[in-house]
């Protein structure tokens, strides 16, 4: 309900747009960030960018711990006195502006267009008040507050649409108080005093005509002199990345600079298939689906209906995909001597047809079919054969895998192979050890041995017969 009311008020205010206001002329007071009539009292490590002055009073208390950058302290000196004079003129200028839009109560939650606003009593800000410059960086906001201006803790005055703090003026009939940790934009010209509670940040000025300015651990930045009639920078547009690849996500931004944000983007012509444009952010994203060079016109429209365009092109190429490497699977790793073995080196992937080869040795009795990868035959020797199976596809891309075929002993010639290879595995693995021939001795020494034995035998027989006769 509150949002609805705020929307209706915004419409009402926009519908009754007053004549555009000129900035309030601050004169010599524009360089003063803090200006008081009686005292400036600071607590905590406040940081103030710009001049700090008091006049006709002379008390500048709390510096340090407060610090001043880009200016100095002025205690009832000439600049401070002149600034007070300029403040009076400025205050009166702001208070004298006519045909205001009437506001009252709490401005929190509203979005206000540039113009003159008047509150006949006190005014508060709770939450967020948005000041929308509507694309005009020279837009001016002037608030006439009959009595006090009070912002709640944590409240914010946000700027958008080109609104600038230098062109926002708060004419306060009594005193202004900025809540703890609040954020405020604009120049406060208070009839009496200005108080910034702990942690409040002010992008503007705190100028008090008759009383004090009180600070507590604040950050205050002088926004500079009001701007009038400064044209925005020329609107330009930058093309997105000019290259992409099919099947690979593309994400680039059509960038706009200058002009008056926000921007609206649109494309004339055809985008590469698969890409789409976000008209708000200018992001061009998607996954291209077709190769080729696509030329289009990127257009941008800023908040003042100024447009810019640029002819862009994106070359979509087909990514070079490295050829897939065929993968290999070893053949069955067990065989038995004397038993038919039939297995294959299996290849997948790559580009068939394949050509197979072996580095090393297959078990004796097995052979490879180079076209199919089939390994067949009947192993003749027990043992393990370690070899490398190779495949070459038609790309040609090759791949290898280390394989082992362990051939167990034939069942008919020995007991089962004991663990660890037992006694049937030849040294060096795989039946490659040449067997040693075991020839019988020459028959001549055999017969000589035979005769020697025969002589011994008959000597023994004769001796036995001799002793028998004796």
């Amino acid at each position: 309900m509150k949002n609805l009311c705020s929307f209706l008020l915004y419409i009402t205010l926009c519908a009754g747009l007053q004549a555009a206001q000129l900035p309030v002329t601050l004169g010599s007071a524009s360089t003063f960030t803090i200006l008081a009539a009686s005292t400036v009292t600071n607590t905590g490590p406040s940081v103030i960018n710009g001049e700090v002055g008091v006049s006709p009073g002379t008390a500048l208390v709390g510096f340090p711990p407060g610090s001043v950058t880009g200016g100095s302290l002025h205690a009832a000196d000439g600049p401070a006195s002149a600034a007070q004079g300029s403040l009076t003129s400025a205050y009166n200028d702001a208070a004298g502006r006519v045909v205001p839009a009437v506001v009252a109560g709490d401005l929190g939650g509203l979005t206000l267009a540039p113009g003159l606003y008047k509150s006949t009593s006190s005014l508060g800000i709770t939450g967020v008040l948005r000041l929308d410059g509507q694309g005009d960086s020279n837009s001016v906001f002037i608030f006439q507050v009959a009595s006090a201006l009070t912002t709640a803790s944590g409240s914010q005055v946000m700027l958008q649409g080109g609104a600038r703090a230098a062109n926002i003026f708060w004419q306060v009939g009594s005193s202004a108080t900025l809540g703890t940790n609040s954020l405020f934009n604009g120049t406060i010209m208070a009839q009496a005093s200005v108080s910034l509670l702990t942690g409040a940040a002010l992008n503007g000025r705190a100028l008090a005509r008759t009383a004090a300015v009180t600070l507590d651990s604040n950050t205050i930045v002088n926004p500079g002199p009001p701007t009038v009639g400064i044209p925005p920078a020329p609107l330009t547009i930058t093309c997105p990345l000019s290259s992409a690849q099919t099947g690979i996500a593309y994400n680039s931004v059509i960038t706009a600079t200058g002009g008056v944000p926000p921007y609206a983007f649109l494309i004339t012509g055809l985008l590469p298939p698969g890409l789409s444009l976000s008209p708000i952010t200018g992001t061009l994203s998607g996954t291209p689906t077709a190769a080729g060079t696509f030329t289009f016109v990127a257009n941008v429209l800023d908040n003042t209906a100024t447009s810019a365009s640029s002819t862009c092109s994106i070359a979509i190429s087909t990514p070079v995909i490295p050829p897939a490497t065929p993968s290999l699977t070893c053949p069955a790793n067990t065989a038995q001597a004397g038993v038919a073995y039939n297995s294959s080196i299996a290849a997948t992937g790559g580009r068939p047809p394949y050509s197979f080869s072996i580095t090393g040795s297959l078990p004796q009795g097995l052979s490879l079919n180079a076209s199919t990868g089939a390994i067949a035959g009947s192993p003749t020797v027990a043992g393990s054969s370690i070899f490398t199976a190779n495949v070459l596809d038609s790309t040609p891309v090759s791949s290898s895998i280390a394989c082992t075929i362990t051939t167990s002993a034939a069942e008919s010639t020995g007991p089962p192979t004991p663990p660890g290879g037992g006694g049937t595995t030849p040294p060096g693995g795989g039946g490659t050890t040449p067997p040693s021939p075991v020839p019988a001795p020459s028959s001549l020494p055999l017969v000589l041995i035979g005769f020697a034995c025969l002589a011994l035998y008959h000597s023994r027989e004769r001796a036995r017969q001799f002793f028998k006769r004796s």
Partner: protein, 246 residues
């Protein structure tokens, strides 16, 4: 023939045959010195046959035929000069001459491979019976990774020829019965095959014995074992013969 005895280790025992035959002939001198010479014309016929065989040998048949021609020539000469009585008296030395003949290639080539396989099988069986882990691939034995090949020279032919010769000589010296020579010659065949298998099995199971001097020593030792087995067989035959005649 002499070259064959020198070059072929299967036939190296042949060099002893010309020494053994004269010794036997001399030992038998009492049987032939008083024989009357009665030359026979059949001797010329045998000489003619020997000449033909020798001719064929020179033409194509090879060394074996030539050696047979030589034996026939000697027989023909004995028949021509002394007659058939001398030939009968010297029949045993003549038979011993057969052990000096070169191997008949046709028979040798047919016999060696079966003998190799038989020796391999028997050796594998012996080792298997002894608890060894054996793999036999044809004529190759693998015992605990130690591989040996039962090649032609291991086939047992050497044992067979040598032991056959020794069996006949042993029978001649130890027994008066002529049939005993044939019986022991026949017994030498299985004994030689069995002994060769033992030799192969031992060589396969003890790697240090598969070559070199130790291997030759093993071969001699096994041959002695063959002779012992022959003696045992001889006694068995005699025992059986005695029981048969009792």
């Amino acid at each position: 023939m002499f070259n064959q005895w020198v070059q072929d280790q299967d036939m190296a025992h042949g060099i002893l045959v010309p020494l053994v035959i004269p010794w036997i002939v001399w030992k038998e001198r009492s049987r032939w010195m008083n024989l009357p010479a009665s030359p026979s014309a059949w001797g010329f016929a045998i000489l003619a046959v020997a000449a033909c065989v020798h001719f064929v040998s020179n033409a194509a048949a090879g060394l074996f035929a030539g050696s047979v021609a030589f034996v026939l020539s000697v027989a023909g000469v004995v028949l021509c000069l002394g007659g058939s009585a001398f030939l009968r008296t010297w029949s045993f030395p003549f038979l011993l001459m057969l052990f000096s003949l070169p191997k008949l290639a046709v028979v040798y080539n047919q016999a060696t491979l079966p003998l190799q396989i038989l020796a391999s099988r028997l050796a594998a069986g012996m080792l298997l019976a002894g608890g060894a882990v054996v793999t036999r691939e044809g004529n190759i034995l693998d015992v605990g990774g130690h591989r040996i090949a039962v090649v032609e020279a291991c086939s047992g032919v050497r044992y067979l020829l040598s032991l056959g010769f020794m069996a006949v000589v042993f029978a001649y010296l130890s027994d008066a019965k002529p049939w005993m020579r044939v019986a022991l010659l026949a017994a030498a065949v299985p004994v030689a095959i069995l002994a060769n298998a033992i030799r192969v099995a031992v060589s396969a199971s003890i790697p240090v014995l598969d070559s070199g001097t130790l291997h030759d020593f093993l071969g001699g030792l096994v041959f002695v074992l063959c002779l012992v087995m022959l003696v045992v067989v001889h006694r068995l035959f005699n025992t059986a013969y005695a029981r048969y005649h009792d």
